[in-house]
Symmetry: C2
Subunit: 206 residues, 2 copies
DNA sequence: GACCTTCCCTAACAAGTGTTTGGCAGGCTA
DNA sequence: TAGCCTGCCAAACACTTGTTAGGGAAGGTC
């Protein structure tokens, strides 16, 4: 009879449906207004309840943000790791990573938008150290892929690799700010066109 | 003796040096913390004064933001208009616009970062309608240049022009989030490498 | 029917927010 | 010396913020 958990919320395994709905709602509002500019009353409005009621499900506004970002990053890395484990060549790895990224944007549009807007400031706080950790793995993964491609002669060797990395990274993720699921282009189609631009350029070859 | 201006601040022509310094300070803090998350007390701290003292120079926190963005956009369009008036071909126009953009990032790094973070929400407010206006001109300019290039056969015709526009736009401006003046690369060098990627791709040609 | 759990409401609190008002010191002008 | 303008401080204001505590209704279980 010792150590019986008294709190039913926080990040326990149990995740009632309502909890997920509220997180999705919060993510939408965070993405649209920015985390700091979003009041818990507005989240509650969108969820059809009052501000105080949110605290039955969550410990704090910050813990909502943390859970949203954690969930997204966990799933993102599941996808990335599957790609990396496949042992593809550099070009195919890059294509698969980009495609996977656009699929994640399709699934976690709001979370990606939040991540892109707030991650820099948040990464400093201890609570959000996992953001910095993820960013390091991200950079390492991409740089290795690009450098391997240069070494194998499939990517140009006259470009600054870090600069290339930044352009690839930014252009992929910033798509979350304009992408709308169910729109004209599927994630795969966007990935295909983006890869075509990135690999072959937009100029006509003579 | 009628209509004598009683307020010395607001956006009158007179712009004492101190005013510019304060705006630069505010821009740095806005860019780093986000507009909403920035308190006037923190701006005042960075400027070595107290919060209330800011109101001798400015009407409100919002008016600081407006002046920062207005100043940046005015100078940006001065540069763009000079390029467009030159009557260059589509490829040369694109190269000049991109180069000019990186120069603006070099000069107005903080303002660009703010613009990129906040412009979407702000554009809805009447006070910041000039942001939406600028965005329309921006899109029109880029789309025309790209379409002209496709028509003249210098840009590929198998790419979605709007998608291309978004990628170009985002990748250019997002650079403001990592660019640091006085760093390893000059604006011109970054522009050169970026244009090389965008026009010719990163893949090695066989 | 009694009890318990789930989920939300009501009402309030303390801290932090942008902003205003009045005043004061220093330098310039007459 | 007297007056004025510039630039800032000191102190407060009204409001919004995230968060808490107690209670109550609905539904299931014994």
């Amino acid at each position: 009879m010792e150590g019986v958990p008294t709190k039913k919320n926080s990040q326990v395994t149990a995740a009632p449906a309502r909890r997920g709905e509220l997180l999705a709602t919060a993510a939408e509002v965070f993405a649209e207004q920015g985390y700091k500019a979003t009041t818990v009353r507005r989240i509650a409005d969108h969820a059809g309840m009052l501000a105080g009621s949110l605290y039955y499900h969550f410990d704090s506004k910050e813990s909502m943000l943390e859970e949203i970002l954690r969930t997204f990053l966990d799933e993102l890395w599941d996808g990335y790791d599957a790609v990396l484990k496949a042992g593809l060549g550099p070009r195919e790895t890059l294509e698969a990573l980009v495609t996977e990224s656009f699929r994640e944007i399709d699934r976690h549009r709001a979370a990606v938008a939040i991540y892109q807007k707030e991650s820099r400031q948040l990464a400093g706080q201890e609570r959000f150290a996992f953001l910095a950790e993820s960013q390091r793995r991200f950079e390492k993964t991409w740089l290795e892929t690009l450098e391997r491609g240069v070494a194998e002669g499939v990517f140009r060797d006259d470009l600054d690799v870090r600069l290339t990395y930044r352009f690839v990274r930014d252009t992929v993720w910033v798509a979350a700010s304009w992408y709308r699921p169910g729109g004209q282009h599927s994630p795969e189609e966007i990935a295909r066109q983006y890869l075509s631009m990135l690999l072959d350029g937009i100029a006509v070859r003579e």
